[in-house]
């Protein structure tokens, strides 16, 4: 192995790791605010990637049915407790928004307006699924234990997996690259797509940081994560915080799907593995620290690319084995902190 191969593998690892970082960030965010381990995060990734790929063929994707259906279901689930303007807002979010997105997609899809429009449409179609899922599956259980919420997550993941097969079919597809530009740096080549991925990930991380540090709503989300009763006592609705966390998770999940679509062939259930790798990174950050999770995600990406070079058959095994020493270390450390208390 020489330096150039090393650099190629490193570049590959960082690009994949950037996508895992987005996933890991969502898992940490959603867990901190709602105590939900969001297994279906991977579905948002694969659904967005597949929607993006279908849009490239000039056809309105079948995921529009999913968007409208899940929106309507979320409406029915929540509408009977709402009155007046609350009901109006709910209808706007769960009925009118999907209708508008559907109409715009049907109008724009055959026009071949380029990857940027397709990417935005794919995100607009996929991202709202997350808050609808929250209303449908999690909000009624908001005060339940972590284990019950985890079971609900497994259920939601399995249900979405089946729906994904129905909507997208068993064939995989690959989306178009944002750009075909290639840059040369010495004897290294860097694809424009890699730069897009790293840049958009960095922009999302910066945006999230600014949101959490400098807005009252961001502070309210952090407060919900720190002390749920304390948050309620100052008037922050924890269900509202959960909805915002899920909306962010949907947006970032859809973005990671669109980013990863040109790199690899995605199947309807392919998001699960991506989600798991994000989960490994999130666990390394103890589902609490976002900076550690982001760095760990980059590490997971690099380990994955090196192991696919040396022992490609064991690629996934090596990545998931990473979690064992981390868990061991965590459990040992946890015991000592308990002793101190």
């Amino acid at each position: 192995m020489d330096l150039s191969i090393l650099l190629i593998l490193l570049q590959d690892g960082i690009v994949n790791g950037a996508v895992y970082a987005l996933v890991a960030l969502c898992l940490v965010l959603v867990f901190a605010v709602t105590r939900i381990i969001l297994i279906p995060q991977g579905e948002f990734v694969s659904f967005a990637a597949l929607t993006y790929a279908v849009l490239d063929t000039g056809v309105a994707p079948a995921s529009l049915y999913l968007l409208c259906g899940l929106g309507a279901a979320a409406f029915l689930r929540s509408c009977w407790t709402r009155r007046g303007s609350e009901l109006l807002w709910l209808a706007l979010e769960t009925l009118i928004l999907p209708a508008i997105v559907t109409l715009i997609t049907i109008w724009l899809a055959p026009l071949h307006l380029g990857v940027a429009v397709q990417a935005i449409l794919a995100i607009a179609i996929t991202a709202p699924l997350a808050p609808y899922l929250y209303r449908l599956a999690y909000q009624p259980l908001a005060e339940a234990s972590v284990l019950v919420l985890l079971i609900a997550s497994v259920g939601a993941h399995l249900a979405l997996g089946g729906i994904g097969l129905l909507v997208f079919g068993p064939e995989g597809s690959r989306g178009p690259a944002f750009t075909s530009a290639i840059f040369h740096l010495g004897d290294q080549t860097i694809s424009g797509q890699s730069l897009w991925i790293v840049a958009l990930t960095a922009a999302s991380l910066t945006g999230l940081y600014l949101f959490f540090e400098f807005t009252l709503l961001g502070a309210a989300l952090r407060a919900t994560a720190v002390n749920r009763l304390g948050a309620r006592l100052v008037g922050i609705r924890t269900s509202q915080s959960g909805l915002i966390a899920f909306t962010l998770a949907g947006l970032l999940g859809a973005l990671s799907g669109v980013l990863i679509a040109p790199l690899t062939t995605i199947y309807y259930d392919g998001g699960f593995l991506i989600g798991l790798k994000g989960f490994v990174a999130a666990i390394i950050g103890a589902l609490a620290s976002t900076p550690i999770a982001v760095v760990a995600a980059l590490g997971v990406g690099v380990v994955e690319s090196f192991s696919s070079f040396w022992a490609s058959a064991f690629k996934e095994v090596i990545v998931f084995t990473l979690i064992i020493p981390v868990l061991l270390w965590r459990s040992l450390r946890h015991q000592t902190t308990e002793d101190e208390e």
Partner: protein, 239 residues
Amino acid sequence: MSLLEIDNLSIGYSGIEAVRSVSLRVEAGEIATVIGPNGAGKTTLLGAIMGILPSTGSIRLNGESLTGTDIEHRVERGMSLVAESRELFTTMTVAENLRLGGFRLRAQGQAALQRGMDENYALFPRLAERRTQLAGTLSGGERQMLAMARALMARPRLLMLDEPSLGLAPLIVRDIFRTVAALRASGVAILLVEQNARAALAISDHAVVLEMGRITLAGKSADLAANPRIVEMYLGAGR
């Protein structure tokens, strides 16, 4: 019409009635106090008034029934509770805790929020010195001050304080009670739950005695402070 009207409030959990048909009134701009021994149901009572615990009976704020509403709704309507456990955002700074205390008034803009923060820093100068410090690193007395300031940030009509003196040094307790007494001038009504009956009766207008989940005595604080039974049980003849 009183600001807070509670009638026949009963609170039970796991089959035991912790509070039985309690009725009490808090008038606008006055300090009312609930005294009683440990385990009498004082904290449970405040929890039910705030909507943390389910209860039967009627709770009305300014004539509006709050039966069946959640905590957030009661905060919106102008209630604030400083819980016995303080419930601070420990990994956030003092300033952030205060900012979030003003969450109810978020529509009023940055200037109103800043005005509220300045007022509370004036009321608790110690907090102003510690504004960039994490709430979890504060001393017990400072935490109590922060919890009170955070509750006041919402500009409540009714402020409920659960054992504000618990676990604090006597000098700090004196400070806290002095601040509570001073708050009356700002127009906020206060419902104070205390084991420190002497201090509570000294600053309050009305008082009730809660024993075994029932109200056994009620009246003007000055009268209760002179009542021989209260003196013997809660004030201690020699102290």
